[in-house]
């Protein structure tokens, strides 16, 4: 299945307070995190990992991060070629995705401190020697990212 992306990413969805939303492309269809006023839980993706082909993370500003679960490559902003690539042979490719919340609590005021959410997206795989490797992007709410592996 091609990695087509709807622009209906839930950005106007009143139940969404997240900057980035995911779109899971399976070999027989797709699930968007927010569709028609309804939220799909990530559990629906986790339960179908074997059918997952692409996992996209996108925002209203047009940032698009893609994990290709067939070859373990990570794409950025619709580039045809993988943005981040290694030459290793990859087996048992598995998605990594979570949101890391950091909440600052003050002795003086719990409400005025910061709450940041960083999106961690990538995959892990086994090389030909069965060693496990991880490639993870840490993406902030502005779409800035750094590579962690």
């Amino acid at each position: 299945m091609s990695n087509t992306i709807d622009q209906n990413i839930g950005g106007d969805n009143p139940i969404s307070n997240l900057v980035f939303h995911w779109i899971a492309i399976f070999n027989d269809g797709k699930i968007e995190q927010f569709e028609n006023g309804k939220e799909h839980l990530f559990k629906e993706v986790r339960d179908r990992m074997n059918d997952l082909v692409y996992f996209n993370l996108t925002d209203r500003k047009g940032h698009l991060f893609t994990v290709n679960l067939q070859n373990g490559l990570i794409g950025y902003n619709r580039l045809e070629f993988p943005y981040i690539e290694t030459d290793e042979k990859k087996e048992n490719i598995r998605l990594i995705f979570f949101r890391r919340h950091r909440i600052e609590l003050g002795t003086n005021n719990l409400e005025e401190k910061s709450h940041t959410i960083a999106y961690h997206l990538g995959c892990q795989y086994n090389d030909e020697y069965n060693h496990n490797h991880k490639i993870i992007l840490e993406i902030d709410s502005e779409g800035n990212w750094i590579l962690r592996s």
Binding site: F42, H101, R102, L105, G106, T107, E111, I117
Partner: protein
């Protein structure tokens, strides 16, 4: 939406719970949202211990890797904040808790469990309340602690959510 966190503090012998507390100031009284200037801690004494916990509402799949540490705020001489995670509630008092110093870096952070004693909080699982276990905090001073206000402290609570 995603998870939404709320901080609760419990007080008194009845484990009276206050939702959405506005601060975790320490003082010489067992109550939430303390105004420090009204409940000063005498030099060489401890604050009342505090029992706080987080409750998650909203929707998520799994919450895990819950950690807490002190990220900012210098101590004055003789001042320390003690902390322990995953403790059972006990009536707060000014008796020293016997806990260790609160960690100041993520690498040694306190690891927080769910109220059900698990590393994760799975949305919708049978018996899951959305609460963490209690975190116990106490500010301790010594005879060498100078008079006057101490610096504000900042704690970082971190968790991963999918």
């Amino acid at each position: 939406m995603s998870s939404v966190h709320h901080w609760y503090e419990s007080n008194l012998v009845g484990e009276d719970e206050t939702a959405d507390i506005s601060n975790i100031n320490f003082g010489s009284v067992d109550e939430p949202n303390i105004v420090p200037s009204a409940h000063l801690i005498s030099r060489g004494q401890n604050s009342f211990s505090k029992y706080i916990r987080c409750k998650f509402t909203g929707t998520w799949t799994e919450i895990l890797n819950m950690k807490l540490w002190k990220s900012a705020g210098e101590y004055v001489a003789g001042e320390t904040i003690k902390a322990a995670a995953n403790v059972a509630y006990d009536t707060p008092s000014q008796v020293g808790t016997g806990d260790g110093n609160i960690p100041i870096v993520e690498g040694s952070a306190l690891h927080i469990h769910s109220a059900e004693g698990l590393d994760t909080i799975v949305y919708g699982d049978t018996g899951v309340t959305g609460y963490t276990t209690y975190i116990r905090l106490q500010e301790q001073t010594t005879g060498s602690t100078p008079a006057g206000a101490v610096a504000s402290k900042t704690f970082l609570f971190q968790y991963d959510e999918s």
